[in-house]
Structure formats: structure tokens, C-alpha cells
């Protein structure tokens, strides 16, 4: 692997992070209400009386940060799942993690588990973790080592199974609960404070650390497990790390914003069009661009129909879907 494609990719990665910086700095400036930045940052006014500061720091900034965290995590997890499963159609949701998270959220909503703090998020994270363990157990039960084929089949099946359970739980709820559940499934980044972000952050940081270590093994794994093994990759360990890292990161992201679609598949593929397939470039570029994209989509969701909110999952799909198709058609 020569250094030159890597070096050529570095400015693009830097560009993706520049886009993220622009998005995170711009998003809190726009919204349905005009605010004065001077007043928002005026320390002489008491915070309780300063509506501009409250809109900036309670409503907009946590949203932009949540969007950045969720977007970065889902895009990176998408890259890792596509590399692990050697399947370009894999998404962070392929192996049932988000279905597990959704099931947890649906159970919490329908059975009105009144959690003292954090609302539905802890239940979603619990559901995601259980799904991860079940899929892992299925994939390793009858096989020595780690079969990605069994993993994929088990994950897809579990996904369908959980989806049925989600419908069942929704069905036994009443109207209000069913509506609340449906709305949760559309994705929402109005986190109403920093607590959800801080709760998810440790898991995401650990996962991103794992991803950084995984970049080289994933490059070699893309040639097949045997080829990677002959080049000194501990295949099983790398696969296990990729599976747990990406799954738990996805669970954390979904617990913050709900199962927001499209990020985990559009962003990695778009990035590959820009920088090629070297994971040392694809991973950081996807993190930057995924975060920037979701921050921008959430800004659209906030202002498009203001004061009515548009679910952000609809925006990512409506903007992302056609854009991605256009890229595909143009490429051929």
C-alpha cells in the first residue's frame, strides 16, 4: 500500500471535518425564532431572564451536538459493518441492533415504565445490548470462531423477528402510546438538554477508539479472512471487535435520536466515491461527513415547516435517497 493515495485523501478528510465545523457552528444560529447572539453570550444578564441564551444553549446547541454525535456514529458504524460483513448493503441496522433498541423503547412506552430519568433512552440502550448479545450467541454457538455468514443470517432474521414484536407491542398499546411509539421510530434529535448526549458519549468514544485500531485489519479483511490471516491479522479478534464496537455505538446513537435511517449507508458510499476504499481514510471522512450531514438535515427539519417540526428521519431519507441515486447513476 503506497503512501500517495493515502496522502491524496488527507485533504478530503480535512474537508469533511471542515464541513462538520461549519455545520455545527452554523446550525445553532438558525432556527424558527430570530435570536440575538450578542444577547445570547451576554454574561451580565441572568441566564433565567435571557431567552436568547436559553434558546441557544438549551434548544439549539444540544440538538446540533446530538445530531453530530449520532451522525458520526451511524456513518462510522455503517463503514465497519460493510467491512465486517463484506457487503455494501450492510447498514448499522442490518444485524438487528436498532430493532432491539426500538423494541426496548416500544416496551418502555407501551407499558409506561416510568423511568426516573432519561425517558425512553435507557430502555432503548438495554434493548440494543440484548439484541447484540443474542446475535453474537447465535453466530458463535455452533461454530468455532466467528462466521460472518451466520452473523448476517442471524442478524437479519432477528431483525424481522424484533420488527414483528415491535408491531405486536404497538398493537396492544392505546392510541396515544402507539402514536408516541411511531413518532419515536421516525427519529428525533430535540434532546432537551445535554444528559442524553453525555450518557451516550462514553460508549461512542470507546467505539471510535476501536474503529481507529480496526482501520488496517478491515483493509486486509476486505480481501477475505484467509488472506488477512496470512498477513498477520488476528481475524477473529478483529471481527469480534468490529461487531461489538459498531453494535454498541449504534445502540448508543439510536438511544439518543431514534432509528434515523440512511446515514449509515449513504455517507460511507459517498465517502468511498471521494477517497477510495482505504479504511484509514473512509472511517475519519465518514465520521466528519456523517456528522455534518445529520446536523444539516436536523436544521432543515427544524425550520422547514416551523413552528411545526418535521421528523429528521424523513429529511435524511428525502434528501439522502435521491442524492445517493443520482450519484449512482452518474457514476455508471
Amino acid at each position: 500500500m503506497s503512501g500517495s493515495p493515502l496522502r491524496r485523501g488527507v485533504p478530503i478528510v480535512a474537508g469533511c471535518f471542515a464541513a462538520l465545523a461549519v455545520a455545527v457552528l452554523t446550525a445553532p444560529l438558525i432556527g424558527s425564532t430570530p435570536i440575538s447572539l450578542v444577547r445570547a453570550f451576554d454574561r451580565t444578564l441572568p441566564f433565567a431572564d435571557n431567552v436568547d441564551a436559553q434558546i441557544f444553549f438549551i434548544a439549539r446547541l444540544p440538538r446540533a451536538l446530538a445530531a453530530a454525535l449520532v451522525g458520526a456514529t451511524l456513518a462510522a458504524a455503517g463503514v465497519v459493518f460493510q467491512g465486517l460483513l463484506r457487503n455494501p448493503l450492510a447498514t448499522p441496522y442490518t444485524l438487528g441492533v436498532s430493532a432491539g433498541a426500538s423494541l426496548g423503547a416500544m416496551v418502555a412506552i407501551t407499558f409506561d415504565l416510568s423511568l426516573p430519568i432519561g425517558g425512553v433512552a435507557p430502555a432503548a440502550l438495554t434493548g440494543a445490548s440484548l439484541a447484540v448479545l443474542v446475535v453474537y450467541w447465535l453466530a458463535t454457538m455452533r461454530h468455532r470462531g466467528f462466521s460472518t455468514t451466520v452473523l448476517l443470517l442471524a442478524g437479519v432474521t432477528l431483525n424481522a423477528f424484533f420488527s414483528a414484536l415491535i408491531l405486536f407491542v404497538q398493537y396492544i398499546g392505546d392510541f396515544a402510546q402507539t402514536y408516541r411509539a411511531l413518532r419515536w421510530l421516525m427519529g428525533d434529535l430535540d434532546v432537551a438538554g445535554y444528559r442524553p448526549i453525555l450518557t451516550a458519549l462514553p460508549l461512542v468514544i470507546v467505539a471510535l477508539g476501536v474503529f481507529a485500531w480496526l482501520a488496517r485489519p478491515l483493509n486486509l479483511l476486505s480481501m477475505g479472512a484467509d488472506a488477512a490471516a496470512t498477513r498477520g491479522v488476528n481475524v477473529e479478534r478483529a471481527q469480534r471487535a468490529a461487531f461489538f464496537g459498531a453494535s454498541l455505538a449504534t445502540g448508543a446513537a439510536v438511544s439518543v435520536g431514534g432509528p434515523i435511517g440512511f446515514i449509515g449507508i449513504i455517507v460511507p458510499h459517498f465517502v468511498r466515491l471521494l477517497v477510495g476504499s482505504d479504511h484509514r481514510l473512509v472511517l475519519p471522512a465518514s465520521i466528519g461527513l456523517g456528522a455534518a450531514f445529520l446536523v444539516a438535515c436536523d436544521a432543515v427539519a427544524r425550520i422547514a415547516l416551523s413552528p411545526v417540526e418535521l421528523p429528521v428521519g424523513i429529511v435524511t431519507a428525502v434528501i439522502g435517497g435521491p442524492f445517493f441515486l443520482w450519484l449512482l447513476v452518474r457514476k455508471r
Partner: protein
């Protein structure tokens, strides 16, 4: 041949649907229904309020009131009416939502009379009670109930006249344990109308729909003087009530939070557009104009 069969099927369906949802052929209009099924909780309450409770033989899965109604057979609701059991009870009137096209078509085919209902504003509640009274032969009782409601509403209006009208957000849905997933009454519908009678100014009165999801930004920008949350009765211990109210303290900038005017009203009457609407309006009026901090 096949297309002919299709055509015939379509013609048959149309023929049945022609006489529409209200009343099927073969039921004389002057013959008052004795076996009524109501799939609409608000209308179930109306039936009992106008003294027709004994004629009610089936209710929806979501009925919670009045207590004597709860002994009746439950037969599904908006999305899952149990058509087989409805038919097996041999009703002579079924109260349905106007949007239940499929159910309306099937019951019409079975020659069962229907009373169709749609959610709307406060005035529609009394209009529905009157229409129901006419339909089941209890006109006088219905008019009495309507007169009581109208008089009560008028009394509340008079009591509120001249008082300041606090800018209020009426939240009817929220994720428990956090301030996320919040929905509030917008510029149409009975909740908006009830708030208006109770002497509150809906901060979303300008939004041309029945409800909207409230973002933190819009809530902070519109700065309500009073927050009222409606919770249908449930497992609400005083501890839980205090915990849920305390969540609002993160929005210390809202006048409602600063002046301790966040109210969580736990009452089964509030979200039902039925004969207990006056009770709901009085609860709202008390919350709006009580001193501070009461529930």
C-alpha cells in the same frame, strides 16, 4: 367472464353503500334502537349521560367511563373492530368513527344501522349529543344534558370575563421521564376550545391544525405563562407527579416555570370530548387561575 364477475362485485358493493352510513334499509326510523354498540368512548359516555346506558350492549377497548359501562363486552376500536363479535351480538345501532370505511361497508352489508362520529370542536360535542338523542329517541334527555353543559360553559365564561388570560401551552402527550416527544393542542379542536372557555390564551392558537409537536426552541420562544399537562388517570403517585413536574425546572426561562405555574392534571375526563367536558373546563379554569403550584 372474470371481468364480468368483478363488475358485478363492484356494482353490488356500490348498491349497498348508496344508502350511506346512517341507517340501513329495513330499519324503520321511528323504531328506537335497543341494542347499541359504541366503539367511540366519548359517545359511550354520551349514551349513559342521556339515560340510554341500559341499551348499550358493547363498548370499545378504550372505554374507561362510566364505571357501569365497563361490564359491557369490549369489541375493539378504531383500527381493530371485532366485526364477527359485533355481528354476533345482533346490534340494532353501532356507533363508529366516520373514518372506519371498511367497517361501515361491512356493517351496512349486514343491514345494521350506524351512527357515525368525528372528532371536532367544543360545539360539536353538544351537537353530537343532540343528534344522538334524536337518533335513539331520547330527545328531551339529550336537550337537558346539552342545556346543562351550555349553561356551565356560559358560567365559566362569565367567571373568566375581565380576568387576565394567561398565555398557556396545553400539553397532552410527552415522553415520561424527559421533556421529549411533547405534543400540544394547536388552533383547532375541543382542547383548544376548552382552554379558550377556561380563560387561557393558547400559545399555539395561530397554528392551523389540531395538534403539533413542540420543540424546545419554539416553547422557549413562545414563553408560556402557564404549562398544563393532561394525563389520563393512571399510575400517578405523588412522588411520580413531583418527579415529572421537576423535569420542567431545566427550562427555568419559561415564565410558567419561574412562577411555579406548571400543572399536571391527572383526570380521565380531560381528554374525552364527551359530556364531562364541563368538568374538564372547570379543572382547566382552576389550574389557570388558582394561585400557584397546585395540581
Amino acid at each position: 367472464m372474470k371481468s364480468m364477475a368483478w363488475l358485478l362485485a363492484v356494482v353490488l358493493v356500490l348498491a349497498v353503500r348508496v344508502d350511506g352510513p346512517e341507517g340501513g334499509p329495513g330499519h324503520a326510523r321511528d323504531q328506537h334502537p335497543q341494542r347499541i354498540i359504541s366503539l367511540v368512548p366519548a359517545v359511550t359516555e354520551m349514551l349513559f349521560a342521556i339515560g340510554a346506558g341500559d341499551q348499550v350492549i358493547g363498548i370499545s377497548s378504550f372505554d374507561r367511563y362510566p364505571p357501569e359501562a365497563l361490564t359491557r363486552t369490549r369489541l375493539g376500536a378504531l383500527v381493530d373492530p371485532d366485526v364477527e363479535r359485533i355481528l354476533s351480538l345482533r346490534p340494532d345501532l353501532v356507533v363508529v368513527y366516520g373514518t372506519q370505511d371498511d367497517l361501515i361497508a361491512r356493517l351496512s352489508r349486514a343491514d345494521i344501522a350506524l351512527f357515525s362520529y368525528e372528532h371536532a370542536g367544543l360545539a360539536d360535542i353538544t351537537a353530537t349529543i343532540r343528534r344522538l338523542g334524536d337518533r335513539i329517541g331520547r330527545r328531551d334527555e339529550a336537550l337537558r344534558v346539552v342545556a346543562d353543559i351550555d349553561a356551565g360553559i356560559e358560567a365559566v365564561r362569565r367567571r373568566m370575563a375581565g380576568r387576565p388570560r394567561p398565555r398557556t401551552v396545553l400539553v397532552f402527550e410527552r415522553e415520561p421521564g424527559s421533556l421529549r416527544g411533547m405534543f400540544a393542542s394547536a388552533g383547532h379542536g375541543f382542547l383548544h376550545d376548552m382552554l379558550d372557555v377556561a380563560g387561557g390564551e393558547n400559545i399555539f392558537g395561530d397554528v392551523d391544525r389540531q395538534s403539533l409537536q413542540v420543540s424546545m426552541e419554539v416553547l422557549l420562544a413562545r414563553a408560556p405563562d402557564v404549562v398544563i399537562e393532561l394525563q389520563p388517570a393512571g399510575d400517578w403517585t405523588p412522588e411520580r407527579l413531583a418527579r415529572e413536574r421537576a423535569l420542567w425546572n431545566t427550562l427555568s426561562g419559561l415564565p410558567a416555570v419561574r412562577h411555579n405555574r406548571v400543572h399536571i392534571l391527572v383526570n380521565s375526563a380531560l381528554p374525552v370530548p364527551g359530556p364531562r367536558v364541563l368538568q374538564g373546563i372547570r379543572l382547566l379554569a382552576d389550574a389557570l387561575h388558582a394561585g400557584t403550584g397546585s395540581r
